[in-house]
């Protein structure tokens, strides 16, 4: 009897020891898990703040270098904002009138949008409202492939195919001209407009569509009178994003639009855009730290402000629209 008690006591103590050992091991594991959890969370937060850091550094870099540009004696703010003469590379008569570049950008963007917006919207309407499933399955990958082609390829296409074609149509076209670059940028923006507009059309509730058709409207009536107005803000946002993309497009205009900044509305003539100027500066002698080098930052800052405001406007418009239907 006594022996039994002793034995059981002994076994219970070993049991206790084992239990507490297990417990402590569990506690240790738990502590390790907790530390791991915290470390990972901190790392993720660092990732999240990294994107904020990018924005801050873009603004910081562009702002400081632009200020340095304006500190040069030959540069005045009134000249920069008030003149359309952009001749930073002329030795004696340098003039930094940003409108000379902005007008080129606007001309190319205008041509591109005149091509991409109507075509993109109509294709989006077709894909969303009319197309049978088979056609959709064929067209969507084609649009994706078009969207995935690098811009330098479009630049080559503009210079080697569109420009000779335009020159064949009409003798007045320069080798480098705004029309060719604008059309190529339009082709580039077309898939963007199309897929964003289609998203907007698709997210109009089916009940609206059914209601319009049920009242005896044709598909065209339903599209024009009901679905388009309902998706309008989404479509406007798609347009704004496409415009921002066209303004920031670089390689096409660098190859096909030429390098003579001038305020013209003649699409046959050579122009230079903001992005084209930056490429010209960087492709040339960048170790030259003169005024013209820093003018690149001023142009970049202008470009950044324009595209950022367009993108933000587009996002705001789209968000407002989303709130209506969710």
């Amino acid at each position: 009897m006594n022996r039994d008690v002793a034995e059981s006591k002994a076994s219970s103590t070993t049991l206790d020891a084992r239990a507490s050992e297990l417990l402590s091991r569990g506690r240790k594991d738990l502590a390790i898990t907790r530390i791991k959890e915290i470390v990972i969370y901190v790392a993720l937060i660092a990732c999240g703040f990294f994107s904020l850091l990018i924005t801050v550094s873009i603004i910081g870099v562009l702002l400081t270098e632009t200020l340095r540009f304006f500190r040069f004696d030959e540069v005045t703010l009134s000249n920069f904002l008030g003149s359309a003469e952009w001749t930073p590379l002329l030795g004696e008569t340098k003039s930094f009138g940003i409108w000379g570049l902005i007008s080129g950008t606007l001309l190319v963007t205008g041509i591109a949008m005149a091509f991409a917006l109507p075509l993109g919207l109509v294709t989006a309407i077709y894909l969303s409202e009319y197309a049978p499933r088979k056609v959709r399955d064929l067209l969507k990958p084609i649009l994706e492939v078009l969207a995935g082609i690098p811009t330098v390829v479009y630049g080559f296409f503009a210079l080697m195919t569109i420009t000779p074609f335009l020159q064949w149509l009409h003798g007045g076209f320069n080798v480098y001209n705004a029309m060719s670059a604008g059309l190529a940028v339009g082709i580039l923006c077309f898939p963007t407009v199309c897929s964003l507009a289609e998203d907007a059309l698709q997210s109009v509730p089916k009940s609206l569509r059914d209601g319009a058709l049920g009242l005896g409207g044709t598909r065209f009536d339903a599209t024009i009178k009901v679905i388009l107005p309902a998706a309008l803000s989404g479509i406007i946002s798609a347009f704004l994003l496409a415009v921002a993309r066209a303004i920031g497009e670089t390689m096409i205009v660098a190859l096909a639009a030429g390098s003579r900044p001038q305020a013209t509305i003649d699409p046959r003539d050579e122009i230079q855009t903001m992005t084209g100027f930056m490429v010209q500066m960087a492709g040339g002698d960048v170790s030259n730290f003169g005024t013209e080098y820093f003018s690149m930052y001023a142009v970049a800052f202008t470009l950044f402000l324009i595209t950022l405001s367009l993108t933000m406007l587009g996002n705001v418009v789209r968000r407002r629209y989303r709130e209506t239907y969710e």
Partner: protein
């Protein structure tokens, strides 16, 4: 109802007045006109949607027509010689592989991490919520920044590093690892003006190690030990110094070891594969980091969509079993979202491969003969090489540019195909 046929005009002559009345009434209601409009619009839609097919066919057709005749093994393996028939794109292809691999290694963890943070660790208090929505807004704005602006940022932040480590102008960096500097001496025979009496000696180059790149030029003395390349091996040799206008040794072997007393050495450097310097300069690493800026928003947005499409019942189940937030993400959400994340990443990488403008800004147009050897080595990428060839005036280079485009498009289309296949696999799985 949209299948209604347009009214047949020939019928009108044989119609009796009653039918005509009916028709007129229908016209008054506008039903015919609306039907017709619908039909016309449908046809116009098909025509306009067909334009995209025509454009793609025309684009690919014209490039293939111009490029395929110039496709050759030389193009894939050669260096970009100034002679069009010998020009190749191997350094550019190697540069693309280097830059995009490093870019993927850096961008994927950061991008997916950000997406996980926003989607899976949604905070509960108001301040943190506001910060999170600021990050979200910021990402969608970053996606709209033109890539050329990222190039400008990369030029300042990575290439010259805000000028913190000395200027780029001198080509010197203040902090380097893995570089050995030498002063290179030429022997008497290699100087055409001094080689009188040394014609039968061969030209040789000798290297004298330098401790630091800022040291003054080495002064050669007789009996000094220098190195010479014999094949790939560095062999120590003893050189001797002579007055070039005095008596020269008659033995050709001894003469070939002779250096003129007034020889000024050239400073050269040898860089190992782990060479690292600050600032990064116009090297591979700066290019990769700049491309990271361009595709980071793309990867974040597509990863977010992939994470969002994971059913929340999976998460709730794991949480109910006592998993910690990270255990849920690592064991449940990420594996479920992996195909979607992978698809988005592949598409983002194909964008990085085709991106030209930022690389053009930070690397400039340089003549590169070799594949990059280390992270700071100068490089060029395939789209930049295509740009370079396209912007030359000679017709022959345009054909080579088209051939380069064919190579680039084959790479990109195979990336796209992989992404499409993955997406279909994923859709089948979910079903």
């Amino acid at each position: 109802m949209s299948e209604a046929t347009p009214p047949d005009d020939r019928m009108e002559l044989q119609e009796d007045p009653g039918q005509q009345d009916q028709r007129q009434q229908r016209r008054l209601r506008g039903s015919d006109g609306r039907m017709l409009l619908d039909q016309y619009f449908r046809v116009a839609c098909i025509g306009i949607a067909g334009i995209s097919v025509v454009i793609l066919a025309f684009l690919l057709g014209s490039i293939i027509y111009q490029g395929v005749p110039s496709l050759s093994w030389t193009l894939l393996s050669g260096t970009p010689e100034p002679e069009p028939s010998e020009a190749g794109a191997w350094p550019a292809i190697a540069g693309t592989i280097w830059v995009c691999t490093i870019c993927a290694l850096i961008t994927l963890p950061i991008g997916i991490g950000t997406a996980v943070l926003i989607e899976e660790f949604k905070p509960r208090n108001r301040l943190a919520n506001r910060i999170f929505s600021a990050i979200q807004l910021n990402i969608s704005n970053l996606a709209g920044v033109p890539s050329v602006v990222y190039g400008i940022l990369g030029l300042t932040a990575f290439v010259s590093m805000f000028g913190l480590f000395g200027s780029l102008k001198g080509g010197e960096s203040s902090l380097e690892i893995g570089a050995v500097y030498y002063d290179q001496f030429t022997n008497l025979a290699s100087d055409p003006f001094l080689s009188m009496g040394a014609e039968n000696a061969r030209e040789r180059y000798f290297l004298a190690p330098v401790a630091s790149p800022s040291d003054p030029p080495t002064v050669a003395t007789s009996g000094m030990e220098m190195f010479e390349y014999q094949g790939d091996q560095k062999v120590p040799v003893k050189i001797s110094v002579f007055d070039p206008f005095g008596d020269l040794p008659s033995d050709p072997e001894e003469l070939s070891l002779a250096i003129a007393a007034d020889t000024i050495p050239g400073r050269i450097s040898e860089k190992s594969w782990y060479y690292f310097s600050l600032p990064f300069g116009r090297g591979v690493l700066a290019g990769s980091l700049t491309l990271m800026l361009v595709i980071l928003p793309v990867i974040i947005i597509s990863s977010q969509e992939a994470l969002r499409s994971v059913p929340s019942s999976l998460r709730d189940g794991a949480r109910g079993l006592g998993a910690t937030p990270w255990q849920v993400v690592w064991n449940i959400t990420l594996p479920a979202a992996a195909p979607g994340i992978l698809t988005g990443s592949i598409l983002a990488m194909s964008r990085a491969i085709g991106e030209t403008a930022p690389i053009l800004i930070i690397a400039g147009i340089v003549y590169i003969r070799n594949a990059p050897q280390h992270l700071m080595d100068s490089y060029t990428v395939l789209p930049l090489q295509i740009y370079n060839w396209t912007s030359r005036p000679q017709e022959e280079f345009h054909a080579i540019a088209a051939a380069g485009i064919v190579v680039l498009l084959v790479i990109l289309l195979s990336f796209n195909a992989i992404a499409v296949i993955l997406r279909q696999r994923m859709q089948n799985k979910v079903r």
